[in-house]
């Protein structure tokens, strides 16, 4: 440390100018009111920078307005406190800063700016903090209560000044967040010649998440005389693993990385049918096999299941890929950090596909507890509204700052997501079919001798044990080291550089460093050449002193692992230098048959590739299905206006309500390709179904991206849940005119732990739910010729808090990527003109079980959710979908909107919102679909395969002809004025005001402020 090094503090706030509010403060005021019911008259926010450097006073003067503050709209100080400058001193003041070691992106940018001005200050360090000053705080709220709303103690520190302190000018003050030095621990070995109980204890103590059988498999490996001989030769203790080896095995064999439950042998018993069968791997049987069978019939499935994302051919020049990941556990602990890390992480899956694909669209699907939840929140968990805001903010930053549009998504609410929110982040990528050097871009081409580079961020102690941690339930003791904050700009620079390197032919193999860090990324790629060696001593670190195993498994973000031919290394490093991206050679691919790790001269690990990837014993699990029972749905007696009001209440349910306030803050149009956007209609506020993008600027061929998710039905039957999810994704895609001959899917399962144990006595039932969901996926995907090309599962979505276990409802997110032949023919969901004819396509049945209406009526105090859940007839649906998309190609369809949550009634209202119109329909024709259909079933039932369509009066006849042979009912007309009116057999059954309905639909999830 240089002798004249010192910490200097810069503070910045908004200048007092007429017409220039302190919007940051106003945001906080509005958030306190909306989320916490705390009223405050006014809030000011002061941005702070702590700079540890050797800069002079004169240099500090320059920095104040050339770097930290905007001279036109901000005022800044160095060496004094802005809190002293307010003529009316604040009543309370709170300062928030990061804990030592937590990623501070603003500080990183500040440091970059500092060295732009003073290049010699390479050793400087910057930290940021924010000070909040409050005036007119509601009586009983204490400063520490306010502070809890403004920071997350897991990653941030707070210092507060109460009324008394503020009156005396004793302001809050945080010190520089110095990271305590790491103490390097020499690699150790672990004796596995111990009792079974002790083996399990080793696993638990080390957060390894390995079961007894797996520990014994490892024990057995180190008893093998051949293994021992090889280890002696390598200079390693022959009869026991090193800490690094055990960690590496735990990461690779974790549920998160190796999907043990989907690979398990399951004995499935069905109490209702007396079925008793054995399933050898749900994944192979129900996900992979259907895709392999479809692959025999089509030529566009380029790369399935084995890479970071699945790749399909889009046309002769381009291929496209898609992947979705979940980031549930980290988002529960730190909603912002968990979510931003989730989105930038899945972007890397795309960048790591083949020889590198460019991410061009994100999708975000969240499942939260109800934002207005008023029950008690178990200790250790956040209120759902806070999780919502944090996750949204993380995904917004991650997507927007990376320049990737968020084109589609969904938000689902259920009380059981309070234990663990589900945060699904998906990305679509594009790459040229072949590179200039003739290689197909979806095929990795590593050879022994290629140099292993680590590119991007550095390795730190953050993110250790993410993979194993997410394979355990959430408890109060969950480690904060598993939480990270993504850095989109470091990643963006890396992405720019990697894609240039790809185009210059410099990349032979690439993968991302996600779960399991280098142990997984290098390990996985070593499988391709048959070996790799790695020197941890070469790996650049954020802070010195990390132990070998920590470097090996740390999941520090924004890193890719790339294989480069020795001849190309110089060019590769020059390119990295240009982009200011760190790229460091850390090893070499080999064909030695082993993953060999050294730390400098010290041998750290020697793991045979076959043992690492195939050594994990298969689980044997039991599954038992017996259908659950529920109270039936009870519907009230209502006149037509009562029904109109009920529809307005249904529209206000969080699951149905407009998400506009939140979705608007995602950039959904960067790259200038968004044809069908999240919003449509004359006021740009009606909900879109699927996204359509035209990724080649000026080109008219498009991609369709959609999602389906229907966890409610799991309460009755997870088969129906999975079938509904797949159908919803396809139905949405059909609404915009997808090309049904080029569609691919993605399955993301999020389940509660389905392994029977003392903590999970109902494990057999939960596993049976998984079996049924997989069977539905198999049946429906085959019928729709919709191959799953990639997927993911997250199987431990339980929280044990204060002795209470909360399990998520079994949830399948199905994402779809399809072709659009001509985006100029794409259709949006909004009605277009009064006088247009309204049709319902697809059959309606009396299916109100677990519908949104059933849940609403139950929540309002009557009945249960029991009854028939929507049954799927995929062949029949597909015939309807083919007829409708072909009619769209002929230009006969003006609007199309799918019937999902809330059924026909909700769809009808939403179509009117986009047109500022009313509608008048007659549901009598629906009775021909189903003899016992009542008004409730017709209006609010959620039968699958149905799309509400409108056509120009002049096209009515041609449309009807084009739909001949499939179920298509003429219902009525789009009308002038505000009335939405429904009749049956000449009798009015529902009447309401469109604008009143729209208001209630918009109000529920308004996030505060404008």
């Amino acid at each position: 440390m240089s002798s004249d090094e010192h910490v200097r503090i810069f503070e910045v706030t908004t200048k007092d100018l007429e017409g220039l509010p302190d919007s940051r403060g106003e945001n906080v005021r509005s958030m306190l009111k909306t989320d916490h019911g705390i009223k405050v008259d006014s809030v000011r926010v002061i941005m702070g920078y702590q700079v540890r450097s050797t800069i002079s006073d004169a240099q500090a003067e320059t920095l104040t307005y050339d770097l930290f503050a905007d001279p036109v709209i901000e005022v800044a100080t160095t060496g004094s406190r802005i809190l002293d400058d307010f003529s009316d001193p604040p009543e309370m003041a709170i300062q928030i800063g990061f804990k030592p070691g937590v990623t501070d992106n603003s500080a990183q940018a500040g440091l970059d700016g500092l060295t732009t001005l003073f290049p010699e200050q390479k050793e400087a360090r910057v930290a940021t903090f924010r000070t909040y000053a409050f005036w007119g705080v509601q009586g009983t709220v204490s400063p520490s209560e306010l502070a809890t709303t403004l920071h997350n103690p897991m990653i941030e520190r707070a210092s507060v000044a109460d009324r008394n302190g503020c009156s005396k000018g004793h302001w809050p003050e945080l010190g520089f967040p110095d990271v305590p030095p790491n103490i390097f621990k020499e690699p150790t070995t672990i004796d596995l010649e111990v009792s079974d109980d002790e083996l399990l204890e080793i696993s638990e103590r080390g957060l390894l998440a390995l079961n007894l059988e797996e520990m014994k498999a490892i024990q057995g490996h180190y008893r093998d005389p051949a293994v021992r001989a090889e280890r002696t030769e390598q200079g390693l203790q022959s009869d026991r693993p090193t800490d690094a080896e055990l960690e590496c095995l735990a990461q690779t064999w974790s549920e998160h990385c190796s999907h043990k439950i989907f690979a398990a042998k399951i004995r499935h018993v069905d109490k209702a049918t007396d079925e008793d069968t054995t399933i050898n791997s749900l994944f192979k049987t129900h996900i992979m096999q259907p895709t392999l069978d479809i692959q025999k019939e089509v030529d566009w499935l380029l790369s399935i299941f084995h890479d970071n994302s699945g790749v399909i051919s889009w046309n002769d020049e381009w291929s496209v890929c898609i992947k979705a990941e979940t980031h549930n556990s980290p988002s529960a602990l730190d909603p912002f950090g968990g979510a931003i890390t989730g989105i930038v992480g899945v972007n890397r899956d795309i960048l790591g596909t083949g020889l590198g694909a460019r991410p061009i669209a994100n999708t975000d699907v969240f499942c939260f507890g109800p934002p207005d939840y008023s029950g008690t929140i178990p200790p250790g968990l956040f209120h759902p509204s806070r999780v919502f805001r944090g996750v949204h903010s993380g995904v917004r930053s991650g997507g927007n700052e990376s320049g990737i549009p968020t084109v589609n998504g969904a938000i689902v609410f259920d009380e059981r997501y309070i234990g663990k929110p589900l945060v699904f982040c998906g990305t679509v990528g594009i790459m040229p079919r072949t590179l200039a050097d003739g290689r197909e871009s979806h095929v990795k081409t590593p050879k022994p001798g290629d140099v292993v580079y680590m590119v991007g961020g550095r390795v730190g102690s953050d993110g250790i044990h993410g993979a194993t941690f997410s394979s355990l339930e959430l408890t109060e003791e969950s480690p904060s080291s598993a939480v990270q904050i993504g850095d989109p700009i470091t990643q963006k620079k890396m992405l720019d550089m990697i894609l240039e390197a790809r185009d210059e032919g410099l990349i032979q193999v690439i993968t991302d460093n996600g779960a399991g860090g280098l142990s997984s990324s290098v390990g996985e790629m070593a499988e391709l050449t048959g070996g790799a060696k790695l020197d941890l001593g070469q790996v650049p670190l954020k802070q010195a002193g990390l132990s070998s195993w920590e470097i090996l498994v740390s999941e520090s973000q924004e890193r890719m692992t790339v294989g480069v031919r020795p001849d190309d290394c110089e060019k590769f490093e020059t390119l990295a230098g240009l982009h200011e991206v760190e790229a460091t050679p850390v090893g070499e691919f080999t064909d030695s048959g082993a993953f060999v790790v050294h730390h400098g001269q010290t041998p750290v690990a020697h793991l045979p590739i076959h043992f690492l990837f195939d050594g994990c014993p298969q689980l044997n699990l039991d599954s038992e299905w017996s259908p659950p029972t529920h109270l039936p749905v009870e519907t009230p007696e209502l006149d037509e206006e009562g029904m109109g009001k009920l529809l307005a209440r249904l529209l206000a349910r969080p699951n149905v309500a407009s998400k506009e306030w939140w979705v608007r803050s995602y950039d959904h149009e960067v790259i200038a390709q968004s044809v069908i956007k999240p919003f449509c209609g004359t006021n740009h506020d009606a909900p879109g179904d699927a996204a359509v993008i035209a990724p080649i600027q000026g080109g008219t061929q498009g991609l369709v991206i959609s999602n389906g998710i229907a966890p409610r039905y799991s309460d009755i039957d997870s088969y129906a849940m999975a079938a509904a999810s797949v159908d919803e994704a396809l139905r949405n895609a059909v609404c915009v005119g997808v090309d049904l001959d080029l569609i691919a899917g993605l399955d993301n399962f999020c389940w509660p732990d389905p392994i029977e144990s003392s903590k999970t006595p109902d494990g057999r039932y939960k596993l049976a739910q998984l079996v049924r969901a997989n069977r539905a996926l198999d049946d429906v995907c085959r019928a729709y010729r919709l191959p799953c090309i990639s997927g993911k599962d997250s199987m431990k979505n339980d929280a044990m808090m204060g002795g209470e276990k909360i399990s998520v409802p079994p949830t399948l997110l199905f994402s779809l990527l399809g072709n659009h032949e001509d985006v100029r023919k794409a259709v949006s969901s909004d009605f277009k003109k009064p006088g247009d004819a309204i049709f319902l396509v697809g059959e309606t049945h009396q299916e109100l079980g677990a519908s949104e209406l059933a849940f609403m009526l139950r929540d309002e105090g009557s009945g249960g959710i029991g009854g028939a859940v929507p049954e799927i007839e995929p062949e029949r649906n597909m015939t309807v979908y083919r007829a409708l998309t072909s009619s769209m190609k002929s230009g006969l369809v003006s609007s199309a909107h799918d019937c999902s949550d809330g059924g026909l009634a909700v769809a009808l209202a939403e179509c009117c919102f986009g047109a500022d119109s009313g509608a008048s329909i007659d549901i009598s024709p629906l009775q021909s679909d189903c003899s016992d259909l009542d008004d409730w079933g017709a209006l609010f039932g959620e039968s699958l395969g149905r799309i509400l369509v409108s056509v120009r009066p002049s096209d009515k006849e041609a449309f009807e002809e084009s739909m001949e042979g499939v179920c298509c009912h003429y219902l009525g007309l789009v009308s002038e004025g505000d009335a939405i009116s429904v009749s049956r057999d000449g009798e009015k059954v529902l009447l309401g005001s469109m604008s009143e309905m729209r208001d209630s639909w918009k109000d529920t999830l308004h996030g505060g402020g404008p």
Binding site: D70, D112, T116, N400, E669, T682, A826
Partner: protein, 268 residues
């Protein structure tokens, strides 16, 4: 001669692909130019006829949008940038690129090209980032070569910091007088021309910019910057409400701006 356009990239700029595309669609040749290739001398800005600073999140918008990138240009490329402007070559900054031009003092700018910041783009009054469509109207008396002959276009805004302000209100009058406040948000339901100094209600004015300013030019009219994204409306099928309209498909409303600059160079 086909004009060559330098489209800057790097450090979080992220609209370079579509910005290059719109210049190509306007008949120019566009290169993706990493800022550091100009700094290290690989490329020379004087070999180009047009400079474009695209949108994005340079340096993550930390420490204020556009500030760190502005500093890179102001300190690292000072002579190249000043030379380019003084030679009378067109420059455009879109969204984050506009923020960069304002923070580095090139906009609204002065005759001397002194690179002194006189205006800023503050946080939207809504306090957050938004993506929504707006209608822009152009000052027909402005010297701006980019907007010559244009009345109105519909374009998306995608920003959190787009409220145009200054700490010297007399400058607003001066800029208005010289036609520098060239692009303003207007209510599309009003007849053209309707640009007004009274701040329009949210969300017609998405950020509550002073005098509804969406974009400004320098005194010569060659340097132009705006918060909305004309390059995002390069084709009719990208409009917000195109499925409700019976127009023939082709180039979008945003393209005229780029055609103007390319013609300006070709006619020179």
């Amino acid at each position: 001669m086909t004009p060559r356009v330098a489209v800057l990239s790097g450090f979080g700029i992220n609209c370079e692909t579509e910005t290059m595309a719109v210049f190509e669609m306007s008949g120019a040749h566009a290169d993706r130019v990493h800022v550091n290739r100009l700094v290290n001398g690989d490329l020379d800005l004087s070999d180009y006829q047009i400079l474009a600073i695209p949108g994005g999140f340079s340096f993550g918008d930390h420490l204020g949008s556009g500030r760190l990138m502005g500093n890179r240009l102001r300190f690292g490329l000072r002579d190249q940038v000043r030379g380019f402007v003084r030679e009378g070559k067109p420059v455009i900054g879109i969204c984050n690129g506009f923020q960069v031009l304002v923070k580095m003092g090139l906009l609204p700018g002065d005759e001397e090209v002194s690179l002194t910041q006189t205006a800023s783009l503050a946080l939207n009054d809504s306090g957050h980032y938004e993506n929504r469509w707006a209608t822009l109207e152009f000052d027909s008396k402005s010297p701006c070569i980019w907007t010559a002959g244009l009345e109105r276009i519909r374009v998306p805004v995608r920003h959190g910091e787009g409220k145009f302000v200054t700490d010297d209100p007399t400058l607003m009058d001066k800029w208005a007088e010289s036609g520098q406040l060239v692009a303003r948000y207007v209510d599309p339901s009003n007849e053209y021309p309707s640009a007004s100094d009274n701040i329009l209600p949210y969300p017609i004015s998405p950020n509550q910019s002073w005098r509804n300013v969406a974009g400004v030019c320098d005194p010569t009219g060659l340097v132009f910057g705006l918060m909305p994204h004309p390059e995002a409306n390069h084709s009719t099928w990208l409009g917000a409400t195109w499925t409700r309209e019976d127009n023939e498909h082709g180039q979008g409303e945003g393209m005229a701006i780029f055609h103007n600059a390319v013609s300006h160079v070709m006619d020179a």
